[in-house]
């Protein structure tokens, strides 16, 4: 048999039927549903008189537009309230398992999936949200779909898909102190660009990736979409199995061992061929951040802001000029030392307990700089509870951070947490597009540790300067 990749194996295992032109009917093991991209899909089912084929493979949660302030209060924004009520009505009508707003386990869909064992290795997992790629960290094929496809999955538990191309991004070596999964992923996107992965599924491999915990792998896979890929994945290994064991919906006992035996067969064959290969050395990666309005606008914190005049191509030059103007930055200036107004630690990229620990470690004993607003929004109610048990909430609060309830929050500014025009934000989220965190807002993407360093100094700062002081 020909050598196959991790993607090939999972794909092959889920093809129901291959149609004439190579389009496949692909079976979907898990469908995650949230309030923003589902109402029109449920409405479509209703209008066509269709039922939801597998409610037992579907789960719904509210996360995108929920307030992250006091949950005992009613939701003020009428449209957000309508969207949440609509979801509640729909899940009741179609019999979909649902995690309500006031449940202790509510949270961002991409945080709760792995956390509760809803997402497992070897599965096909979809959600009407591009960052579904996060779940690929478990060694699953997980990708975002549009609302029409949400409806298609609801009605048929399948999708019409053509196989993607295989890309492997290998990061060998050891990460330097202060360098995290976020920095690795920013380096990768900076290298291949936001369209670099188009048409591909990326497998992340190499000793630096293997050495990451599951939270780090999720951060990496999460931003596969920012590299243009449909999905990102890491082959399941002992780290994965240890993570999955004992989670709420994971198989238990003998069933778990049986599942592990299957999951162990999924790694890419040693001589499997990838359509595209990319390699990075771990030692070359510094703490990174974005300076512009595209996730590929990456520089190390020790770097300077690029000069559009050096761009060879006029369209590209125009984009860089516009990004500079929007971000209010000068070409050639050092990025470190740029004053910030807001710090956001949260989003499905970096809101897990490991992320909060990493930020808290930098903050411990320090205080948020005067004039800076800093928020921590845990990825889920369970993450929040864990952090409180560890006393991290105290570290954040005493330092002057707001300690919020779980949700997407300022990642996309659909709820009241938004930037105002011109505000500059050090953010652990995944998109720095114009207006993403609020109209006119300026976003610098960076790791939780770097966000913490910005919070306590009031400027974009090399976190290594602070951690060296600690050490």
């Amino acid at each position: 048999m020909t050598a196959r990749t991790l993607f090939d194996k999972i794909w092959h295992d889920h093809v129901v039927e291959r149609l004439q032109d190579g389009t496949c009917i692909l079976y979907i093991d898990r469908h995650l549903v949230h309030e923003v991209t589902s109402p029109q899909a449920f409405e479509g089912l209703r209008l066509a008189g269709r039922r939801l084929r597998r409610p037992d493979a579907t789960i719904a949660v509210v996360d995108h537009n929920v307030p992250t302030s006091d949950r005992s209060l009613p939701i003020e924004e009428p449209e957000s309230r309508t969207q949440i009520e609509t979801l509640e009505h729909n899940v009741a009508e179609f019999g979909v398992p649902y995690i309500p707003l006031r449940s202790a386990s509510q949270g961002i869909v991409h945080v709760i999936g792995p956390e509760q064992g809803i997402s497992l290795p070897g599965m096909t997992i979809v959600c009407g949200d591009s960052h579904t790629s996060t779940h690929g960290a478990l060694g699953a094929l997980a990708f975002g779909i549009g609302t029409s496809e949400v409806e298609h999955v609801m009605a048929t538990q399948t999708l019409l898909q053509k196989p993607a191309k295989n890309m492997r991004v290998t990061v060998e070596g050891e990460l330097a102190p202060g360098v995290t999964a976020k920095d690795v992923m920013l380096a990768i996107i900076g290298k291949i660009g936001t369209a670099g992965g188009t048409g591909h599924v990326i497998e992340f491999a190499g000793s630096a990736i293997r050495g990451l915990d599951m939270a780090g792998r999720m951060t990496i896979c999460n931003m596969s979409i920012e590299a243009g890929a449909r999905a990102g994945m890491v082959a399941p290994d002992q780290t994965t199995f240890d993570y999955v064991r004992g989670r709420r919906f994971a198989p238990q006992g003998a069933a778990f061992d049986e599942a592990c035996a299957y999951w162990s067969t999924l790694a890419s064959d040693p001589n499997a061929v990838f359509d595209t290969e990319v390699e990075l050395r771990a030692e070359d990666i510094a703490p990174n951040l974005t300076w512009g309005t595209s996730p590929e606008d990456v520089i190390p914190i020790t770097g300077t802001i690029p000069d559009p005049a050096t761009a060879s191509e006029p369209g590209h030059r125009a984009r860089l000029e516009r990004a500079l103007a929007y971000m209010g930055l000068e070409p050639g200036a050092e990025i470190a030392g740029t004053p910030i107004d807001v710090v956001f630690i949260g989003s499905c990229t970096n809101s897990r307990i490991e992320d909060l620990r990493s930020a808290a470690q930098v903050i411990d004993g320090r205080h948020v700089a005067p004039g800076v607003r800093a928020l921590v929004v845990p990825g889920s109610g369970l993450v929040k509870a864990q952090a409180e048990e560890e006393g991290l909430d105290r570290v954040f609060r005493e330092a002057g951070f707001e300690w919020r309830e779980a949700g997407c929050s300022m990642c996309l500014g659909m709820n009241p947490d938004k930037l105002t025009p011109g505000q500059r934000c050090a953010s652990t989220s995944n998109r720095n597009f114009e207006g993403r965190q609020g109209p006119g807002g300026r976003t610098h993407l960076l790791s939780p540790a770097m966000a913490a360093a910005a919070a306590v100094t009031g400027v974009l700062t090399d976190v290594r300067a602070l951690t060296r002081e600690i050490a």
Partner: protein, 206 residues
């Protein structure tokens, strides 16, 4: 979904790379529970000033492009969020065809699902078509999905590729859920097979 066979229309030139779905429809307009009505918010941050008034230099605020049914951009159109609100907003505004040197995958898919034809052409060709589009109302482009050609105002034909399966659905205006449900037996057989080989696969229930 409306059929797409042929379209003769004004094309709006937008010579930008990475026109992302946050630009096409900003997140604050995603609170709707309907597919329609998003046209007035299309490109809201670029189209309207802070006072809510139209910015006169934005292409879709100018004649004849207010009536554009074709949009032409540079590389990586539709990158970012998977929100189908992006094609819904385009469609509600009146856009039935988008032309670019490259598209982000999910957006590309979402266009087909809503009767919008995405056409991929080399960058130089897109720039040439943008020059045509700049000539205004008399310079309409003709897009013919049956023949798979874009016809320039001077009559020159430019061939394009399109996935045959997607083309078929567009030409017929077909809903692909109906198509897939015809394979219901195969899906059931697959599920039985999975129950045998992966008995550990947990069901979700609270």
């Amino acid at each position: 979904m409306d059929k797409f066979t042929e379209l003769t229309a004004v094309a709006a030139p937008m010579p930008e790379e990475n026109v992302d779905t946050d630009q096409i429809i900003p997140a604050r307009f995603l609170k709707t529970i309907k597919r329609t009505g998003l046209g007035e918010h299309l490109f809201a941050n670029l189209r309207y000033g802070a006072d809510g008034r139209e910015k006169p230099d934005f292409v879709l605020n100018r004649e004849p492009y207010r009536h554009a049914e074709i949009l032409i951009t540079l590389d990586n159109l539709g990158c970012g969020s998977s929100r189908e609100h992006a094609p819904w907003a385009l469609l509600d505004f009146g856009i039935r065809c988008v032309i670019a040197p490259s598209f982000a995958d999910i957006f590309h898919n979402n266009c087909f699902k809503n009767g919008i034809l995405p056409i991929q052409l080399p960058r130089e060709t897109c720039e040439m078509l943008m020059d045509d589009a700049r000539l205004g109302a008399n310079a309409q482009l003709r897009v013919d999905l049956v023949q798979q050609v874009v016809v320039r105002p001077d009559g020159q034909e430019i061939a394009f590729e399109v996935d045959p399966f997607r083309r078929e659905l567009l030409l017929e205006g077909l809903d692909d859920i109906g198509q897939t449900l015809q394979h219901g037996d195969a899906i059931t057989t697959f599920e039985h097979g999975r129950d045998e080989t992966k008995p550990w696969m947990p069901a979700l229930a609270f």
